[in-house]
């Protein structure tokens, strides 16, 4: 006879019991908790968006884009503020792209590692967190008053340039750091100079991140109100800007202006202005995302 079967030991079970069951329950719940927190923000945004659309969609007509501001709400439009925004943002971009990217390249690729550069880096991070109104005060003191630019497009663009410079530099630095060191070494080992390495390999590799950073910074500049109100862009402009020394207004300032009026009809104009501004900012952000994906390949 074969030996008798061994007495059944404790049965092996693979269902979750005891401590494992408890941990797994927590794990399942965590998913819903985090989903809930994420939805909170989305719901608030959607509610705001829908409210704005209901209030303002009726005012977004072709006339709204081609009319100057007016004391009659139904005749007022965004013409001068759109033109002002284009002027200011173009100038800001012309300033921020070479100077911001140049700064980032210098810090990451050329700067010696000493205390001074350390302070510059630390300052950049701090400056990116400074409230925009502070840049407005700086712009008022330096550009408007001291340099006598007045509340002009030039002063506005310089102020916005200072405001978005830190975030542009930080984004570009991040992009440059993403380029693997092995690429730099490979290039240098072929007898390329530092500059040839930066131009031939680091910049092309960092370009998508740099472009994204510039676009996101420009989106912030496009929506900036406080700094420009501070330097005096809060004007009634009923003509098209033709020079950088012109007084000006921009879309967010115009929206702010309308919200301060007591009449209900101006609130509708403000809502319509917000729809236009949000579309512009959204377009910037989508463009940044598309460019990032395209360059990633």
């Amino acid at each position: 006879m074969a030996t008798a079967p061994a007495p059944a030991a404790t049965e092996t079970r693979l269902q979750a019991t005891g401590g494992v069951a408890r941990r797994q329950r927590l794990s399942r719940w965590s998913r819903y908790i985090f989903l809930g927190t994420s939805l909170l923000g989305v719901v608030a945004l959607v509610a705001l968006g829908v409210d704005t659309l209901i209030n303002g969609a009726g005012r977004v007509t072709p006339d709204f884009f081609t009319s100057y501001p007016s004391r009659f709400a139904d005749q007022a439009g965004l013409r001068s503020s759109i033109i002002g925004s284009i002027w200011v943002l173009s100038m800001t971009m012309v300033l921020v792209v070479p100077i911001g990217l140049g700064t980032a390249v210098w810090i990451e690729e050329f700067a010696p590692r000493n205390a001074l550069v350390g302070i510059v880096k630390l300052n950049l991070a701090n400056l990116a967190g400074v409230p925009s109104i502070i840049y407005g005060i700086l712009g008022l003191a330096v550009f408007v008053r001291f340099l006598s630019f007045g509340p002009s497009i030039l002063a506005g663009a310089l102020t916005l340039f200072l405001m978005i410079l830190p975030m542009t530099v930080i984004a570009a630095q991040e992009a440059i750091r993403q380029v693997p060191d092995s690429i730099r070494q490979g290039s240098l080992a072929l007898g390329a100079s530092k500059w040839q390495t930066v131009w031939g390999h680091v910049l092309p590799g960092a370009l998508p991140g740099m472009i994204t950073g510039v676009i996101l910074a420009m989106a912030r500049a496009a929506g900036e109100t406080a700094a420009l109100v501070m330097i005096g862009a809060f004007a009634f402009i009923a003509y098209d800007n033709t020079s950088v020394r012109d007084n000006f207004t921009v879309i967010p300032v115009q929206i702010y202006n309308w919200t301060t009026r007591p009449q209900e009809a101006f609130r509708e104009n403000a809502a319509a202005g917000i729809i236009v501004l949000m579309s512009i900012v959204l377009t910037f952000n989508i463009a940044a995302a598309i460019l990032r994906e395209r360059f990633r390949r």
Partner: protein, 309 residues
């Protein structure tokens, strides 16, 4: 496989304007280095295991080289003569300074913050570390292939032509691409696809692309830092065969962890070991056959037989 181009005439290391890369321009020679007597007397029967001098003419001569990362010494008094058109292997356990030594040879260590070099490396009568020597000129003549294949994220063609272009190459780029890829035994595999990204190649192909890229600059010496450590055995074998072919025209210095590889491909082998303080020293240097069959230092024997530590 025909190797059509020899190395260029490397006589000056000074910075010259890139446009006029003729050898006729300014030749303020850097002061000549003086040979050390203890390296000259070959015949002496009681030389130490690390004092061997190969009979061939030297491509590079390292004299009393000391290297520091900040205050930490990484190499101590290295004296080595690398013979022309031979393969010299640097072996030793991790952290013995063999990669550091290799990177001293084309001044790649200049890029490390806080790195300091003492001693001299003689190249055609010039000291690579003399004042006025431009590291970019050095690296053009002394190329390098890295541990992990690092092709540029560009087309195969652009990978090969980059080095030549930055060095002011004015000839037929297509011919250069073909010649370099043939030399690196990669041409047949990629000739229809030169526009393809270098990153789309297999690891072994990428490494051969990196070799082709280095060859396109027409260096005289090629440094290889564990070139096969990221490759499978078949790709490794191909690179090793390639190295043997290249050794007919180029001086090759290779760092390897793989002792069989050192034994298979190299003509000379130097064994390095870190001392008590972590600074690497050359323990033994000699023809590869002797190092592997009849090592003179006990530590060399222990290492190559795997009894180390």
């Amino acid at each position: 496989m025909a190797i059509m181009n020899g190395p260029t005439d490397p006589t000056t290391l000074e910075v010259r304007p890139r446009q006029e890369r003729t050898m006729a321009d300014i030749r303020t020679r850097v002061p000549e280095v003086t040979p050390r007597p203890h390296l000259a007397d070959q015949s002496s029967g009681d030389r130490k295991p690390n004092e061997y001098v190969p009979p061939e003419p030297a491509a590079l001569t390292v004299r009393d080289l000391r290297f520091y990362y900040g205050s930490k010494q990484a190499l101590r008094d290295v004296n080595l003569q690398f013979p022309e058109k031979k393969i010299t292997a640097l072996i030793g356990p991790s952290g013995c300074g063999k990669s550091t030594l290799l990177r001293c040879l084309n001044r790649m260590n200049d890029l490390i913050e806080g790195a300091r070099v003492e001693g001299e490396i003689e190249y055609h009568g010039l000291n690579l570390y003399e004042r006025g020597v431009d590291p970019v000129e050095v690296r053009r003549r002394i190329g390098m292939v890295f541990q992990k294949p690092n092709p540029f994220p560009k087309s195969i063609q652009d990978n090969v032509t980059f080095g030549a272009k930055v060095n002011g190459f004015r000839g037929d780029l297509d011919a250069l691409v073909e010649r370099s890829l043939r030399q690196a035994a990669l041409w047949e595999e990629v000739k229809g696809d030169l526009k393809k990204s270098g990153l789309a190649l297999s690891g072994g192909q990428q490494q051969r692309l990196c070799i082709a890229r280095a060859l396109a600059v027409e260096p005289e010496i090629i440094l290889m830092d564990e070139p096969c450590s990221a490759l499978d055995p078949i790709a490794t074998l191909k690179i090793e065969e390639l190295m043997r072919e290249l050794a007919e025209h180029y001086t090759i210095i290779i760092v390897t962890h793989n002792m069989q590889q050192a034994a298979r491909v190299s003509d000379y082998t130097a064994f390095l070991l870190a001392g008590e303080d972590g600074a690497g020293e050359v323990v033994e240097y000699g023809p590869t056959d002797e190092i592997f069959t009849n090592p003179r230092d006990k530590r060399t024997e222990d290492y190559i037989t795997g009894r180390f530590g």
